[in-house]
């Protein structure tokens, strides 16, 4: 194996452009503030001088002779009449002014200290310290900044202050850029290293501009509007201002105008150059366009979300992609995605014409580009490429001609058709299942659609979520996506080695309704429901009181693959709920559901035992079919049986209400009793706790018991005829606790696991007496959601709810950052054929992937092999039968 040495960047060095360098790299000295003459030709020595590069195709550069795509552009320059501060270096100028002597130019440190600092810097360079060079520099500068008497020439230095943005003062007297520049020129090279400058590439006086570089025209191109009107770039506008004021300043200076006028012009020049660099400098009014829009100058081009970095360099946009709102479609397979016609006609796949597909290609091209309204969708063609790469746009008019012309080797940009492989993605892409491969199914209307089981891996819902779709363009990509990224290949999550997709919500309710107590389904209804799926044989007919029925469990059995033998505990496995054991124990014998109700534990995502079994035993394709059939069956059942919930589902009989009220009252008095005992000193501290903590935990215990009791009462009075209970018991949505809170008692509202305690002095709210630590005063809610809460209860409930919101907000941002760091650290690691984890230099990160070489998404809940399953299967094979 080749072990190439990858090159790392050990160091990046920044320098300053010296005036000489600016002149040297300049192709033209710009002296005229104008751009084009009346005939539209660029003015010589103007801001659009052709020596600075070409932007019009066909023309050649005056400097390098290159055409538009060859000429890199060339800088020009402006000789400034007076020096001006560079806004980007104000901080550096300030600290250098402060740390050097205004008389002799030396850094205001003794020779000994200088030596010490230099030694330290040398050590840092040799990586003997963990500290940064920058830290030493700021130490040195702040130490020198405090010195008043220069240790070298004994001159008494004055205090320097900065009037933001660009005015320096020495004890009130203004320092002109010219004076500052003169001071900086005196600083010896040897002292510069202590100020963070390398004299070879950066002299401090270069931070004060005397020559101004004019960027190439490529950087600030003229835009010609459709009306023929020309519009200049914001940078050019700013440069016009700079040249104009510079000219006036020079004239006035040469004429010997009054100092006041010169100073005003000088300040104006400083303003224009400042805003040229950064038009959002604090303390400076932004320069504006005639329309009132503020100009986008250099810093604005780079900074922020719309800046060069985040928008253009980190944020890439791609072709062959689409984005729209998503909606559910239970009649699609989990492997499919519904693509609207409008998108399908826009998205294309490039196919090469061969002997074998010429006829098909001709037919497709003959259809032209098509339109959205056609009743039936047939893929058309948008573009055709000849062998030399030249492009023909296919239109309704020329489609027949183009179809006749094509030859083997031409390329055809064909519209999307059913069965094409595409990538489908929802942000935030937090795990690999956030981007999966689907087969296209072109559908009417405007949304992307998919099977509801796929909501979980994407974490999608349909309250306005949008998703992205990418059409794969090469055969290799399609093959790879189909093998690795297809939805069915991602059944098992690498996070917990179990199925991440499964039945959700109404699918579970429907399967439960179909199998709980094995209902009789009238034959016509049963046939209708089963017509949605592809069944091998019709289940046996049961006659009852002269009418014909199917048994619900038999209908469910039709979607099971062959030879399924399994027994497991369902959610109804409970002595009280299911005394006869006909519902809680799910038993399937030779693909026939003989006992038990199908619920979340059988087919739910991540815990569906039956689903897991089917996927592992029969593979992903059969697993996908099982889930597809299940969703279709579920849609049929629930629409025919009908299922709804309303507020009267939370109605409990009068006696239950009385019991619930009693539970609330009882716990409040119990708490009062505890507090009384505490006040009378009858409670001793538990080990490791203060007396107060002991009381608190005793109270909490009483109150949580109240909620449990209320839950018990609610469950007792609300039976399986109640829709909400069906959802909770089957695991479709919610749990009995939620129900109890709606019908019975909401219970204690807590913050950070404690009873509500913050608020006013010695009480939570002014509604209570001071030092009241009773149940109500500390956020115990005895009302139910259905009855409604009283004002204090409502307040405590809101504070408790807010904690949840804050927690999620904090958690998402933190885990997002953590994830980003992890991804950046791990993104270019790879697993070799020897299952070794290597980095880009082929250095070993892990000798065997995961130390056991197991792909967690092919594992059994993290274990390499599911021994129990294997033993059972082998036993069955050897001794036959599924019973016992």
């Amino acid at each position: 194996m080749k072990t190439g040495v990858s090159k790392g960047i050990s160091e990046i060095k920044f320098g300053l452009l010296s005036p000489d360098e600016i002149r040297r790299m300049s192709a033209v000295k710009v002296i005229t503030p104008d751009t084009y003459d009346d005939d539209g030709y660029p003015i010589e020595k103007g801001l659009m001088d052709p020596a600075m590069g070409v932007i019009e195709p066909g023309l050649k550069c005056k400097t390098c002779g290159g055409k538009v795509d060859q000429c890199p552009g060339h800088f020009g320059n402006i000789e400034l009449a007076m020096p001006v501060l560079h806004i980007g270096f104000i901080k550096e100028i300030y600290s250098i002014l402060g740390s050097t002597c205004s008389n002799c130019g030396r850094i205001k440190l003794t020779e000994d200290r200088i030596k010490e600092y230099k030694k330290k810097i040398e050590e840092v360079k040799n990586k003997l310290h963990e500290i940064d060079y920058d830290d030493i520099v700021s130490d040195a500068e702040s130490e020198a900044g405090d010195v008043v008497i220069c240790p070298h020439c004994h001159f008494e230095n004055k205090k320097i202050s900065l009037d933001k943005p660009t005015t320096f003062r020495e004890e009130g007297k203004k320092l002109t850029p010219k004076e500052i520049r003169e001071r900086f020129e005196k600083i010896p090279n040897d002292d510069l290293i202590l100020m963070g400058l390398d004299p070879a590439v950066a002299r401090p006086e270069w931070m004060i501009l005397t020559v101004f570089p004019v960027p190439p025209v490529n950087v600030r191109p003229t835009i010609t509007l459709e009306t023929g009107e020309r519009s200049e770039d914001d940078l050019t506008h700013k440069l016009v201002d700079v040249i104009r004021i510079n000219q006036r300043l020079r004239e006035n200076r040469d004429q010997g105008s009054p100092q006041l006028i010169i100073e005003d012009l000088w300040d104006l020049l400083q303003y224009h150059i400042t805003t040229y660099f950064d038009n959002q400098t604090p303390g400076t009014p932004p320069a504006r366009h005639r329309s009132g829009r503020s100009l986008k100058t250099l810093v604005q081009r780079l900074k922020g979300k719309e800046g060069r970095f985040r928008s253009n360099l980190s944020g890439k946009r791609v072709n062959f992609s689409a984005r729209t709102v998503i909606s559910p479609e239970p009649f699609l397979s989990i492997n499919q995605v519904g693509v609207p016609v409008k998108a399908a006609r826009e998205l294309t796949v490039t196919e090469t014409v061969t002997e074998n597909n010429t006829e098909r290609m001709k037919e497709m091209i003959g259809r032209g580009p098509g339109n959205e309204d056609s009743a039936v969708y047939y893929p058309g063609v948008n573009y055709v490429y000849r062998k030399d790469g030249s492009r023909i746009k296919v239109s309704d008019k020329n489609s027949k001609d183009v179809a006749d012309k094509i030859e083997v080797g031409w390329q055809v940009e064909r519209q999307l058709q059913d069965g094409d492989i595409v990538l489908f993605n929802r942000q935030p892409s937090l795990h690999r299942m956030s981007m999966m491969a689907h087969e296209v199914k072109v559908l009417p209307f405007r949304t992307f659609r998919f099977n509801l089981a796929v909501c979980t891996p994407y974490n999608a819902d349909f309250d306005g979520d949008e998703m992205n779709l990418h059409v794969l363009q090469s055969q290799e990509a399609r093959a790879e996506a189909e093998i690795l990224m297809k939805v069915q290949e991602n059944f098992l999550s690498p996070r917990f080695g179990g199925p991440i997709m499964g039945a959700i919500h109404d699918h579970i309710t429907a399967a439960f309704l179909l199998t709980y107590k094995n209902p009789m389904i009238p034959i016509d209804l049963g046939i209708h429901i089963m017509s949605y799926i592809d069944i091998k044989e019709v289940p046996p007919i049961v006659e009852f009181e002269g009418k014909k029925y199917f048994a619900g469990r038999d209908i469910f059995s039709t979607i099971l693959p062959e030879h399924v033998n399994i027994e497991f505990k369902g959610k109804m496995n409970d002595k009280i709920l299911d005394p006869e054991g006909t519902e809680g124990i799910v038993r399937i014998e030779d693909s026939k559901l003989v006992n038990g109700a199908i619920d979340e534990n059988a087919i739910g995502q991540s815990k569906g035992v039956l689903l897991d079994y089917v996927i592992r035993k029969y593979g992903n394709a059969v697993g996908a079919k099982f889930l597809n059939d299940l969703t279709r069956l579920a849609a049929g059942i629930i629409s025919y049986i009908g299922f709804s919930t309303g507020i009267d589902d939370e109605d409990v009989p009068h006696e239950a209400k009385a019991q619930l009220r009693e539970v609330g009252r009882e716990s409040v008095t119990k708490v009062e009793k505890l507090i009384e005992n505490y006040r009378n000193g009858l409670i001793g501290p538990e080990p490791g706790k203060t007396l107060e903590d002991t009381l608190e935990s005793m109270i909490m215990k009483v109150l949580s018991q109240a909620r449990e009791k209320s839950s018990e009462i609610a469950s007792h009075y609300l039976g399986m005829e109640n829709s909400t209970v069906i959802m909770a018991r089957s695991g479709a949505r919610a749990n009995m606790m939620n129900l109890a809170q709606m019908a019975g008692i909401i219970g204690q509202q807590s913050i950070r696991g404690q009873r509500q305690h913050r608020g006013y002095t010695n009480r939570t709210l002014p509604h209570f007496k001071k030092d009241d630590i009773g149940a109500y005063a500390r956020g115990f809610v005895t009302s139910s959601y259905k009855e409604g809460l009283n004002p204090t209860e409502y307040f405590f409930h809101a504070t408790g709810g807010r904690e949840g919101l804050v927690d999620t907000a904090v958690r998402t941002s933190r885990s997002g950052y953590m994830q980003r760091r992890l991804i950046n650290a791990l993104e270019d690691l790879k697993v070799s054929e020897e299952k070794r984890v290597l980095d880009t230099e082929n250095s070993v990160i892990q000798l065997v992937y995961g130390e056991d070489g197991t792909d967690p998404s092919r594992s059994y809940a993290g274990e390499s092999i599911d021994v129990e399953f294997l033993v059972k299967e082998t036993f069955k094979k050897k001794y036959g039968g599924g019973k016992k």
Binding site: E834, N842, S843, V844, I845, L847, V848, E851, D852, G862
Partner: protein, 84 residues
Amino acid sequence: MSKFNILYHEMVPEHILVPAEEEEEVLKALNLSKNQLPKIRKSDPVIKSLEKITGDIEPGRIIKIVRKSRTSGIATIYRMVIGE
């Protein structure tokens, strides 16, 4: 220096200095060049403790580490000693 030897702590996995003459064999079995191995600093407390038993360990030597693994029970890995 404390008398406590970190190598005896139950949280510290077993570190073994691979004899110089066995190095080639180990690398051959792994099908790796020495530089591809993960590194361990000579200044690492474990190496310092190990040196008390084996004498000076020069950069370039290989350390065998046997540790408990959540996935495979016991995992054996190798590291190359580097300076500093």
